[in-house]
Symmetry: D2
Subunit: 386 residues, 4 copies
Amino acid sequence: MDNNKIRMAMVGGGEGAFIGAIHRIAARLDGQIELVAGVFSRYPKKCLSTGQQLGLDPSRCYHDYETLFREEAQLPQSQRMQFVAIVTPNHLHFPIASAAIKYGFHVLSDKPATLTLAQALMLQNQLSDTHCLYGLTQTYTGYPMVKEARHRIATGALGTVKKIVVEYSQGWLANTNDETSKQASWRLDAKKSGISCCMGDIGVHAANLAEYVSGLEVNALCADLNTVVAGRTLDDDGTVLLRFNNGAKGVLMASQIAVGEENNLKLRIYGEKASIEWAQMEPNNLWLREQNAPAQLIRTGVGNLCPAASKATRTPAGHPEGYLEAFANIYLNFAEMIQAHCQNNAVQNQDFDVPGIKEAVRGMAFIENAVVASAQDTKWHPFTIG
Amino acid sequence: MDNNKIRMAMVGGGEGAFIGAIHRIAARLDGQIELVAGVFSRYPKKCLSTGQQLGLDPSRCYHDYETLFREEAQLPQSQRMQFVAIVTPNHLHFPIASAAIKYGFHVLSDKPATLTLAQALMLQNQLSDTHCLYGLTQTYTGYPMVKEARHRIATGALGTVKKIVVEYSQGWLANTNDETSKQASWRLDAKKSGISCCMGDIGVHAANLAEYVSGLEVNALCADLNTVVAGRTLDDDGTVLLRFNNGAKGVLMASQIAVGEENNLKLRIYGEKASIEWAQMEPNNLWLREQNAPAQLIRTGVGNLCPAASKATRTPAGHPEGYLEAFANIYLNFAEMIQAHCQNNAVQNQDFDVPGIKEAVRGMAFIENAVVASAQDTKWHPFTIG
Amino acid sequence: MDNNKIRMAMVGGGEGAFIGAIHRIAARLDGQIELVAGVFSRYPKKCLSTGQQLGLDPSRCYHDYETLFREEAQLPQSQRMQFVAIVTPNHLHFPIASAAIKYGFHVLSDKPATLTLAQALMLQNQLSDTHCLYGLTQTYTGYPMVKEARHRIATGALGTVKKIVVEYSQGWLANTNDETSKQASWRLDAKKSGISCCMGDIGVHAANLAEYVSGLEVNALCADLNTVVAGRTLDDDGTVLLRFNNGAKGVLMASQIAVGEENNLKLRIYGEKASIEWAQMEPNNLWLREQNAPAQLIRTGVGNLCPAASKATRTPAGHPEGYLEAFANIYLNFAEMIQAHCQNNAVQNQDFDVPGIKEAVRGMAFIENAVVASAQDTKWHPFTIG
Amino acid sequence: MDNNKIRMAMVGGGEGAFIGAIHRIAARLDGQIELVAGVFSRYPKKCLSTGQQLGLDPSRCYHDYETLFREEAQLPQSQRMQFVAIVTPNHLHFPIASAAIKYGFHVLSDKPATLTLAQALMLQNQLSDTHCLYGLTQTYTGYPMVKEARHRIATGALGTVKKIVVEYSQGWLANTNDETSKQASWRLDAKKSGISCCMGDIGVHAANLAEYVSGLEVNALCADLNTVVAGRTLDDDGTVLLRFNNGAKGVLMASQIAVGEENNLKLRIYGEKASIEWAQMEPNNLWLREQNAPAQLIRTGVGNLCPAASKATRTPAGHPEGYLEAFANIYLNFAEMIQAHCQNNAVQNQDFDVPGIKEAVRGMAFIENAVVASAQDTKWHPFTIG
């Protein structure tokens, strides 16, 4: 154990899981975080074998998250875990986060934050009474060019934002037999996934990205969620028309049945004077287009970028960084936030560029508002929280 | 005068006009059509000077379209015009087309076909009683890769179509002072443009493209048309959610205020087995993406393409063809249709791949349905004609 | 016959030919040129049938080029041809051009200008004693973004040019049986093609493009020409290292056996301060990259472009123009040059942006120097003319 | 210390260095390697502070590499370092590697392997007498699509390879004052860098990539190395014409003065039947183009890829991986090679897909042959080793 490093426990992420391994790479990448404990599976043997592969002390591979938190809380402060990374299916996010906070541990949760908006609001309440920190892995905000786009808009490069188009298209759930895969089965099961599959899994990323970059908030929506593959109970596709709080118009498209699409998350924001375009599959490119002028291709590592973008970059120009690095940026910022918190309790998520409970609540509200709006005959629905 | 060529008259397209010059290039490009007469302006001097620049006999530069048709009808059959190309602002399309048909001339009209759906239906009626041919320059269907996409879908490459996303984004009307330009002013004037600017000018192209390539028809819509620039009476932006007659979902986005966009018309169609993507600004590319396989980039002039695509191509692979060639393809097909008609009255638009009165009516219905749907509080509106 | 138009004759370009049809489209596109006479084939029947399809008077479909020039020279000045477009295989370019000039006709020749450098020098001599105009269809200089690149460099955007990389890759001659095609057979036959296939057919375009855009001249070269497909006598691939007259380094790659390449002509010029990149297959893009700054994508029709680029553009931004339009730009400029010549004999090619006899001679010198340099053991060879 | 992990020491990579930090991320990313000791700087204070930031025991932050190896060799086998990562300027690679091997440690060295070919051959000799493993971070071979390209060629997708074009263009040394930067100064100093700057730093990557993917070896070359920026003693640009051992032709271009280029490494290989294209700046794309067929875009994570490519991929399709992951792939493979070696001394680099001493020697030979070939007047120079 390295005393310089922030100590992390993980719940979820046993062998065969996808996102747990990603979180672990992200945590390791910058060498600021050390995995010290975990509950990787509800099956003790699998939990232990995963932990041992990861080099954990077997005594810190716990059978369940309650035990994890209780036992770790008994350890000397210099040894015990400082935060838990939650990488389970959605329905477990809330009880685990809630338990961690009760024991005084910080939380870094995968998205969506909870199973329901009500849970997210309870979590927000619970956090307001503690000094625990909460981070949410809205991964795509970790990309340097996303941060640069946000900076450009905040500093006026576009003028007033008039229109936002955000899309997140995938094709992996296009075939009916995909439910048999581990990744697909829980996402299509409302008990584990919540009231939406497509909006809950990827639409929520698109909505978060649009708000993060624009600095605006959705305040009304018109939704058309679809279940394209027969036999499903949850949506696997949908489009949501948006209104933002400055009057800007928006369109959010998400799909998991768009055959041939890999992970096509793409954002365009049009202002009075200029527009930006960013696509996750070419993440080191940011287009800035002013009226009647050559388009500018802003690139990671080239020229003067904002501090948040520069900090989020590890390599010289032309050496592509990608998804794992974006993920690591959230881990790194969260680790620095915990470090600062050790000196001073009054740290704020926005000062460390870490998505937090506000984004957690808005994400869950987006999902629930979209489902309600889609079910109604009336076109527009106000975006409401709680 | 060349006796081999089809003889064309033009109404509209005087000096300073945009689309008239484009039509003339399209008509000339393949050497099958000869411009023999015209009314290029309501100002006789300007009309004459344009005609003379174009090499016309001054006696066939007429003062108004009634005179054009009446006088031409007096000429020997071997000399007189065979069809009129209508390139005026929208409000004149119907009266000119209607007059041409009365005198027995064929019509090739710019889009949208008329000022109102009612006019389009009248035109349809009028045509049904004559042998006159009618073509509509839905230009984008003239591209070879659009034809190839249509062919692939018709022959089953995608399986059942599940979702269609079509977008047409421009930025040229983003600034308020653009109304002072000749192109902008009439498009933003309901008397000349009709009840919609954005949907009438470009949304109608997007809708037509989606139906042409997919072989499907829109049967319901939910519309959100916007007037983004203050002071305008017509829409300059909008999104329309669609349902197609096979149950497929759709999204149509159009905008004239998307700063930095040039002429971004883009179509994606997702089927059960594969998807296609085509973008007008890279028109010689057609992407075909099957699930879990390398994406295929089908290129104009490479390999085995369908006859309609091959016929629409003039150069070897790698020699880009563009918008003017797509436009010329419609002219060429219309010329061949007239030639065939000279032998046999029973020619059909679809046999010559020429958009016709059916597309004219559906286009006007799209515009009017979108405007009605946008104004209502209820989400969905059936697509109705007449 | 239209008295406003420049009157053209064509030699070559019968049914089945490729480049003749392209020339005719280019000549027609802007409506400034009229084809009035021709020798389309050495077979009189084929010549006549091609001429009739093109709407020519049968009396002006001649059996051979001598007759063409002699007979046309007898016609009244207001009717007779003004220039000849030469679209035959290479070995006929010189005798036809020479004969046309003897009869006082202007010449627009396909490239390479002649079969040998000696012929090109003779042609240059012959022209210097006449008032005849000479144009060479170095087509790729007709693209608006090529002209913009030239303008930017001429006005200092790059600072001193340091390095030029130009490539022209095709794959159509990669398979041995391609010699059976009409296009391939004469290009691989030294009697018709000259001493080089690849350098003569496409390397010469690449060299011309590099000199046109940079404003520099090659003054030494090191060549590696290859015959990749067994059984051929001429090169089908090659690389030429270059030195320019300002000391800049260069690389010219050309290939006809690069399987999978369509018509990949690409130019990059690196200066002290910035670089440009242009690729023929995406011709409406011009990249300008300054050190440590966002790359700029300059687009046809967007913003302030130089007069030569603007004049070479017919459509608004985002409506792609391509190869035929680039070709037509050379025809249009040549027609305007003839028009001006009718007023004043002292017209210069460079004032009308028309490649002329200087480019003809340099092109032939490039081919011959490359072949000599490739055959020698010494690395570098001075670029010599005559 | 984690007993599951391979224990690494590092020489070089103190604060301010570039490549050391990259190596450490690569070593950490997959959690199989632990940094346990190092000499990060010749300044003891800086060495210690870097080590402590990295969480090392201060007693294992050594003053010089001799001490490092000597002291570590004294530690119990279960604790002592297993391999050294060498990330110093070039001139130190050989003495450090040689010393490590003397003490029985494995070596993972940055490229180029040594200062001179003679040193590389000595290293090869030295290794042949030991059981020590040697790896070379020819990073670009770590990309999954590079491995897929190699696999496709090895299994015949291209037929006989006919032509290879490889390019590595950068612009960062275009301005004279760049020598003042830490990265530039040693690379331009022959004492530290060797007899070549551009070929030694990046040309060697291009040559290695071409040989790795094609499975061929260069056997003759014609070189044109340039010093473009005045005042330098080493090359900063160059082109090398190649012949491969199957007769294939090649072109290798490298430049550090290509203003506006970031890290543009690009490989194209043309065979009889098809060609491949890969570019480092879009590393998850691999183009396969067969004659007269749609181009295929093979993507990381999509469809059936070869085992080496699949193993080198950590995320699902559409989640971009980049340079750090490619680097980590070499570290991971080297760690697995060491693990296997612990069981059985007879491991071979090629079985673990780790560039080794053979690549080290060929790389140094490439540099020296290119410099000699460039200096001579004769065009071609045989590729000789020792």
